[in-house]
Symmetry: D2
């Protein structure tokens, strides 16, 4: 593995998508800065990456706090120029409108939209002077569709998509690639498997073609990163071949 003089920041480095993104970019020689609420949970990921010779730094990070986000990204940028910032915080919930409390609505927005705005803006602050960089956001079906019960989640995801669009239009001509990846499927995580089983029974897990492996999401981000600036994608949706849409 040839090391690069560049860092990738993963904000929302959970056990599934976030971890796979971290591994993917670490294997390509990037130094990875991985942040999640409880940094201690990053230990297995750090060990795995270091085991194959990759460079990774795990940090506790409340992505809703401006100063923490700014400090996290500055740190990454001090280690080596911040080449890619990926915002991957999720907050999928479903409640009937009357049961969607103020607290839930606000918290989901803070995690899935507000934190994304902070991450994008602070990454841009570091990248603009250098005139290069990549800022990617993880979207979902709910980025495009406000389904019944999804007032809180879809509102936050719609809002995040708008942030991404506005940034892409402003920063693209300044050589910063802003992209929004829409995962139009359930991702294969413990939580999704459990939920599907609750709703549809065990059979729902029989068809492996309907759940997206987290590593495939990482592949999609890698593709976005490799695009030449003469042909950047702003929005790309991915789904497993068996998915109905």
């Amino acid at each position: 593995m040839e090391k690069r003089n560049a860092t990738v920041a993963v904000i929302g480095a959970g056990d599934f998508i976030g971890a796979e993104i971290a591994k993917r970019f670490a294997r390509e020689g990037f130094a990875v800065f991985a942040g999640r609420r409880n940094g201690e949970k990053l230990e297995p990921l750090v060990k795995e990456v270091e085991a194959f010779g990759g460079t990774i730094f795990g940090r506790s990070l409340d992505a809703r706090k401006e100063e923490e986000v700014a400090a996290f990204l500055k740190d990454a940028d001090k280690h080596a120029p911040l080449e890619v910032c990926i915002f991957n915080v999720g907050a999928n919930v479903n409640f009937p409108i009357l049961e969607t409390t103020d607290r839930v609505f606000r918290k989901v927005w803070e995690m899935a939209c507000w934190a994304g705005f902070l991450a994008g803006r602070e990454a841009a602050r570091l990248m603009l002077p250098r005139g290069r960089g990549n800022i990617f956001f993880t979207g979902a079906t709910a980025s495009l569709r406000g389904g019944s019960g999804y007032a809180a989640f879809a509102s936050a995801k719609f809002g995040l998509r708008a942030v991404a669009q506005a940034m892409a239009r402003e920063l693209g001509p300044k050589n910063i690639h802003v992209a929004h990846l829409i995962i139009d499927a359930g991702v294969d995580t413990a939580w999704v498997r459990q939920r599907r089983e609750q709703i549809w029974g065990k059979e729902a897990l029989d068809n492996p073609d309907l759940l997206m492996p987290p590593a495939s999401v990482a592949d999609a981000y890698w593709q976005l990163y490799q695009q030449p600036r003469s042909a950047w994608t702003f929005e790309m949706e991915i789904r497993p071949f068996g998915e109905k849409w």
Copy 2:
């Protein structure tokens, strides 16, 4: 004018669109509850409506406060059954991403999205037991497009649209008409005229066909209200005939 035993609540009853909506429904015999930040500014509207024999109540209302919104709507509903709730709070700003402060981003969201969620939810709470009602939201070009500099505004408007969609899908089958009206144009207000003059010079105001009269927005809401439930519109966009799009 035949009075109806029904109220219309206008949240965000500003001098232009909000005021015209209030007059339109008052003329049709509804009791109107008009709320805006500074209730004193509602005096001219109240006088105008009362002058033609309409019923109107002007209230100071911080639409970002759950209890205030709930109390305002309950009050309206006590006067007569709440038939229509129209959310019309705006917060159009444009800043480069690096100058979009936390304060601005959060405030715009609280005014244009969060307050809309509160209004919609509290209206639904009153309407659901009766099994009828109408909840309308004012959208804008920025509800569909995150233009450069519009990270804050578009994020809030996208988010509001998601709230409206989720509510429409949940509440439609329960006989509550939720709609989202997209005004894809500048509305003819003092502020818009001033801004256009600043940006493009006096000539920008020469073409009257490019600015939408606030009364036309009120007409559109009236059309939405009149639709039979066998053919409801969720989303309708309006623009002046001379507008480029």
Copy 3:
């Protein structure tokens, strides 16, 4: 009923939507020119309209033939200025891609897209010199979504929508209102009832809230016609309150 010196042309005046549009505008005092493949089938409609004192002319019309369309509209315009032209030809079919024959694909396109282009263009030809007019197109769910098995139908409906958009952008500033009405539901026709029964059984017809009465579509067109030019809608979707979407 006060007669107006204006005609409305309905191209695709079938027994359901087309007939209701004809009756609606006839009741408002317009002279109606109704065209359909087999003009003899228009007899009951003509009788019904004449019975209430309306003015209507029924004609055999192959909407896929340029000269027939041009002659039909010229005729209408000679009677009185052509104020509204509504294109309402449908051609809903569903076939797996391998069973979608050349003949089907071409015929569906000729009926649902090509004929719409002819109608729109020839109406514009008559309206432009007068600097006023209205051209409306009937769309469907398939105007926005290419569902499995709908390659032929959705392709034609997508294409019709593009024609409508291009015309709206060109003709709007010339005071001609071009609109596209999306009916996102099954319309209550003999054919739809029969198909639903075949697919889902008799129960599928038990819920009257899921089928749209043709008269409601006519209402929607009437709303579009009444909009002031300061606030025109290009696209409006309608669906029954019980519909899932």
Copy 4:
């Protein structure tokens, strides 16, 4: 270069995008079947590919003729299993609606939509029995937007997109990847350069960041081809970093 036992068919193998796609896949070891109206014009491409050791067959092909398309693809499939079929026929024209003749409207549709339907269906016919394959369609800004003057072109491109969607939904679960690539920019071709110069003057060509190199489109197709079936993209839009959108 390692040769693969697989063919790629390029329908609409023009001098720019089509030729670059052919070269890209030939370099990856595929046998390429390149078809265009006048097959003689393929000579330089064939020579270039053969010079670097690639396998390519150039054919005259009227993509609007069912039998020709079927024969072309069968031929490719006989040489080696048809792995990828790319439909790349364009027909960009702009006319005011009244000057959009029947002939133009029909011809543009036959080239850009009808031919795409034939290509997709015939490719599917060969791929379905094998349970694998890739069918890609080239889209444009006009696939999503019916701009003024684009009734013919946008109608055809909208229609092609619907075909692609319907096929993707039907064939995806059968392991055939159907994708629609939207090129939201001018591609750097002789014709586009000439048109831009006519409209905006020589300066319009000064900014190289606004024209997309045909090779970048080929790269995008290669990315789509490499996606794992657990995370397929149906629609991906690409544009140069300097493009306004």
